[in-house]
């Protein structure tokens, strides 16, 4: 048995994925084709077609309930956690359908990380255990490697200097902004190709928000980033591409500058100028 594969507790090929080492996995593009999503009988998304380019930041904007969170939760198959939820259509990651038979939901989620609206560190784990929770819960035991990975990821989110002397403290003891960076580090630790962020700054103050935004700009060198936001200024600051959604439909998609300066659709213009939403 090769030494490198010993870490994989469940034989799912997870260790092999990690053998790529930090930075070795380039961001992947995502192609969404005719995606419809449902909650029971209620349809939440209608025929979404969208190409998310690799190593760029793509923002989803639109009024509450427009389906932008549903859309990104379909990308990493978190949508199906909700009872009676279902989807149709395709989402291609590197050309492979995440809903096809070749990948199961856990494989998809290991390749597509997620950061939530409210920082959600595991309250019964220390700061360093939180960062490598994804590895530990998937059976990685090598202490040296876990510590190394925790340090790398905390450095990537600029949290290392703030917490390096108290790595054993509870993750829940940090401030809101630090918790959210901890959650980003946790998502990075499993070395995903894509990072989904569901309104990652809506629970944070302006200073913490600015730090996360800087971080997003850096993350795109290694990952593809998709961010849902309520805040149009934030979209214009961080995103290369922006998609505007309304009532479950994709209204307009293009380069961020185009969307904000010369939108093609009247609905988009009315939304970004604050006439509704």
């Amino acid at each position: 048995m090769p030494v490198g594969s010993r870490d994989s507790g469940d034989g799912s090929g997870f260790a092999a994925l990690n053998e790529l080492g930090p930075g070795a996995s380039p961001g992947a593009g995502i192609e969404i084709k005719r995606l419809c999503a449902f909650y029971g009988r209620k349809q939440a998304l209608y025929d979404i077609d969208l190409r998310i380019p690799p190593n760029q930041v793509t923002a989803m904007i639109g009024p509450s309930g427009c389906g932008k969170s549903t859309l990104i939760r379909c990308i990493n198959r978190m949508h199906e956690m909700i009872p009676d939820a279902s989807v149709s259509g395709q989402i291609l990651l590197h050309g492979v359908d995440v809903y096809g038979g070749s990948m199961d939901a856990t494989d998809v989620r290991r390749r597509i990380g997620m950061v939530f609206q409210k920082p959600n560190p595991f309250p019964n784990m220390s700061i360093s255990d939180n960062v490598v929770a994804g590895l530990k819960l998937n059976g990685v035991r090598d202490k040296g490697r876990l510590h190394q990975r925790a340090k790398e990821c905390l450095e990537k989110v600029y949290l290392w200097d703030e917490v390096k002397d108290e790595l054993k403290r509870s993750g829940a003891s940090l401030s809101g902004g630090q918790q959210q960076r901890l959650c980003i580090a946790r998502a990075l630790a499993i070395e995903p190709e894509v990072i989904l962020m569901d309104e990652p700054c809506s629970a944070l103050d302006p200073t913490a928000t600015a730090k996360i935004e800087e971080l997003i700009a850096e993350l795109k060198t290694q990952y593809t980033v998709v961010i849902v936001t309520h805040n149009m200024q934030q979209a214009s600051r961080v995103a290369d591409h922006t998609a505007f959604m309304y009532l479950g439909k994709l209204i307009e998609y293009g380069e961020t500058a185009m969307i904000f300066e010369r939108p093609r659709e009247e609905l988009t213009e009315r939304y970004i100028t604050g006439k509704f939403g």
Partner: protein, 277 residues
């Protein structure tokens, strides 16, 4: 107006106080009598000697031994099955089967305990032609399962969904996520298990139909065994003053054990609320 409200307020507070006193009187009386009449029966012999013939005051060590044995074996049945059923209901039971199990769990918690005794009497005592430790433990164990199940399901429901989401989004498998949820609710689960243990410790009716009684030390899993509750019942109604004193002693010991368990639970839950912040 204010004074009338103040008066109403005082009357209500007075009423609740009176109710508390009425509730406490019988409780305090029981504790007082059991202590005053039971304490003199307690000595080293109480725990080391077996049941005497009438008029030779000795001990009921065999009943203490029997109760610990019956309850110990019962927890080996009640806790694993109860905790796993609770995990099923809370984490996997969002379907008709899960809801049905939950409903019958609630019904069984309120079921008279003698029904469990009757069931075991039919299923085990009658085919094996006699009262036994096994039958008594199974009766107490099955009585314990629904209590632990419902308590576990409730404790797991208190764990915020964000923890399940965070774990799932890291590509962690469902069973491992469930384990993480349990570890976040471990003091709640332990509390439920301990309270159920305290509850079965004093059960008398099912034991009379299953474990029977004995004046000897434990002498085999398929033999009848003495227990504190059955001795309280059998000796308490006997005509011999020595036996009646021993019954008071047994009641005293039982109350001390149950109180000990409740104090442990208190300490567990206090620690939890401190940590929960």
């Amino acid at each position: 107006m204010t004074s009338r409200r103040a008066l109403k307020d005082r009357i209500l507070i007075g009423l609740t106080f009176v109710c508390v006193v009425i509730a406490i009187v019988p409780l305090a009386t029981i504790l007082y009598y059991v202590t005053v009449r039971g304490l003199p029966a307690i000595s080293l012999e109480f725990f080391t000697k077996v049941t005497p013939p009438p008029s030779v005051a000795e001990g009921m060590g065999n009943a203490v031994q029997g109760t610990l044995l019956l309850v110990g074996l019962a927890t080996c049945i009640g806790i694993p099955f109860g905790v796993l059923s609770g995990v099923y209901i809370s984490e996997y039971g969002k379907n008709l089967f899960g809801r049905t199990v939950r409903f019958f769990g609630d019904v069984l918690v309120g079921n008279p305990s003698i029904v469990f005794g009757l069931l075991v009497a039919i299923v085990i005592v009658s085919p094996t032609h006699g009262y036994s430790v096994v039958a008594g433990s199974v009766a107490l164990g099955t009585l314990m399962i629904p209590i632990v199940t419902v308590a576990t399901a409730e404790a797991l429901k208190m764990v915020p969904n964000s923890i399940r989401e965070a774990s799932t989004a890291l590509g962690v498998r469902k069973w491992r996520t469930s384990l993480l949820v349990v570890s976040n609710a471990k003091s709640g689960v332990a509390t439920g298990a301990l309270l159920a243990t305290a509850r079965i410790m004093g059960e008398t009716a099912p034991l009379l139909l299953t474990a029977g009684s004995s004046t000897l030390w434990y002498n085999g899993l398929w033999r009848p065994v003495a227990s504190l509750p059955s001795y309280i019942y059998l000796f308490g109604i006997s005509p011999f003053p020595d036996w009646i004193t021993l019954a008071w002693g047994a009641a005293f010991i039982l109350i001390v054990i149950v109180m000990g368990i409740n104090i442990t639970v208190r300490m567990l839950t206090r620690r939890r609320s401190d940590a929960g912040g």
